[in-house]
Symmetry: none
Subunit: 192 residues, 4 copies
DNA sequence: TATGAATGAGATTTCATTCAT
DNA sequence: AATGAATGAAATCTCATTCAT
């Protein structure tokens, strides 16, 4: 068996960590943190419980990794230059669509995220990271509504935030037959 | 001497059931169904674990009772004649405020409700009742936007639903210093 | 309400004790001592748990009362002059029938009795009384087989005892369509 | 290096299952199903309670496994060619002895079996398997008594069955100083 | 006397974590 | 690295017994 270089070795480890992370995300999103068991996660990842513990030292730590991982992806999205800073009706609509898409693509993560935020019990784990994220996009939209001449840019931004949160929620709960296109148009009409 | 009338017994039982229900709601809202333990609930209710089981035959059944109880209250609110059917900008605003108030007053219930809906695992327990509730208020607002001459009353109603959901979510997650008044005004401006 | 005489009072108590005893017998015979709960017994007796405890101070004591009561009835049967001491083929057959009848009439008791004897755990409670009973009827049959000129009266008596035990067992397990008559004839043919 | 072959694992599991089965049999035979606790069984098996549940998913399922296991052994005995079908006084005696021996060797199982049959509550679990077994040996003896020219082979077979059941019962209850030899001779004298 | 609510000990069951191989 | 057997603490649930009314 070919001896692996340090490099290859690290890559394999990284790969396996992802595999576990994805499995954990799926299971925790569907069952909640407390409802998800290590066995379920290991089974979903196709590895043994023991091996899982050689990658993450506890269930709690696994959750933390999961949160960081998801938030990093979200942050990356926010920093994506061609996504950020809407400046016209068209780019507003485009960005809106992109965000919705991100949420739907990573819906497991956002379901978990939402659930965690709602439980005071758990929210400590996610609040700090969520805070930053929310402030960031709030800032962007305050600026947008300001430029547009809104009477109260901050309130409008917060309302728009609520729209996004609510839409995300509705899509997560009942994605089938949701008239997304029509609702998006309505949003653009009212906010862009 | 008969120790206690049937009537008295019944009342006491009903009272204690409420006491348990409230304790359960509080604990489950804060820790999630799986994170909440019977011990926590019994402690919160000020009774022994054993006694809890003489009122509810299992943890699962307790959850069901909790859901029914909350949904009944919500349904009662919807049927309250002076709450329903907005017909003017003023009554729209009034109803909006009333709904927000209801949600904030029963915020434990709505936190639990939301969390359950987000977990496919659990959502079966709540979907049927939630469905009916959502359809009801959607109907009311479709009618309202229709009368107002909306270009797409159904999409506008769904968007408004998302606004309510998102607002509710934001209020539950970070109620302090939320500029509720300003946001409400903004909603009225855009939707009423 | 008419004040009761001491006498009436005692009778009522005695009646209620019987009622409890019969309920307990039924439940314990069907579920076993450990499978039977005080609640079941009280419900069967149509009284409250609390009241039951004013008649019998513990589940264990209730069992003891049950055993004594059953064994006394059995002993009474043995002492019944026109039942005891077979002396001819006819009286042998008659007594056999009477015993079978007793067992079938009190089948709950005998089921419980059998079950208890089979559990070393419990047998202490019943062994002493059972012992006496068995010795008594063994004595009777040893005498009978002796008089009949059996080659080994004691072995024949024990075998006959096994026949009775086995028959009782079979009848308790599957009473329907058991060809009792034919088997009894066969017993008489072989033993009387 | 793969830590253990699938094969080895399977074998170890099989071994441990037996260990648990034997412990369970001993404890349940002595205390009854409801009187036996998982703790007792685990202690007897020398393992933790938790581990027991990785082999049998519930106490009830453990009981079922126990029954199947015992009945299979009994069935194997019945199918043993040199045990079956008595055809002469000698082979009748031999088979009788073999059956007694089997019962005494597996006396825990037969105690449990008997107790279960006597409790309507539980008998559902064992009836189906017991039925088949009983019919099988009844068939064998009906044939035997027929060949012997019995006036009523079926009744004689059932009586013989009762003898076996009763003998088994007596041996289980008071094995010490039971004059087994003499009684067996008596049986042979009367039935063979 | 009579009730059934209430308790607490203990039973069954689950699961994060460790460990021998 | 990889497995899953094994543990033990904690969770859910049951029930004999007590007690206020």
């Amino acid at each position: 068996m070919s001896p692996k270089t340090q490099q290859q070795f690290q890559e394999l480890r990284e790969q396996k960590k992802m595999q576990i992370l994805n499995a954990a995300l799926k299971v925790i999103a569907n069952h909640g943190y407390n409802g998800a068991t290590i066995s379920m996660i290991a089974r979903e990842a196709g590895i043994s419980k023991g091996l899982l513990y050689s990658y993450y030292e506890s269930k709690e730590q696994l959750l933390e990794a999961l949160i960081s991982f998801g938030m990093e992806k979200a942050a990356a999205f926010m920093e994506d230059p061609d996504a950020g800073k809407p400046h016209s009706k068209e780019s507003f609509a485009a960005m809106l669509r992109k965000m919705i898409q991100m949420v739907m693509q990573e819906s497991d993560f956002w379901r978990m995220y939402t659930t965690l935020l709602l439980q005071p019990n758990m929210s400590g784990k996610i609040q700090p990271q969520a805070q930053k994220f929310v402030e960031q996009y709030l800032g962007i939209y305050i600026a947008y509504f300001q430029k547009k001449g809104s009477r109260n840019p901050m309130a409008e931004a917060m309302l728009f935030g609520a729209v996004l949160d609510g839409l995300m929620f509705d899509l997560m709960v009942a994605p089938d037959q949701y008239p997304l296109e029509e609702v998006l148009e309505m949003i653009v009409e009212k906010f862009a």
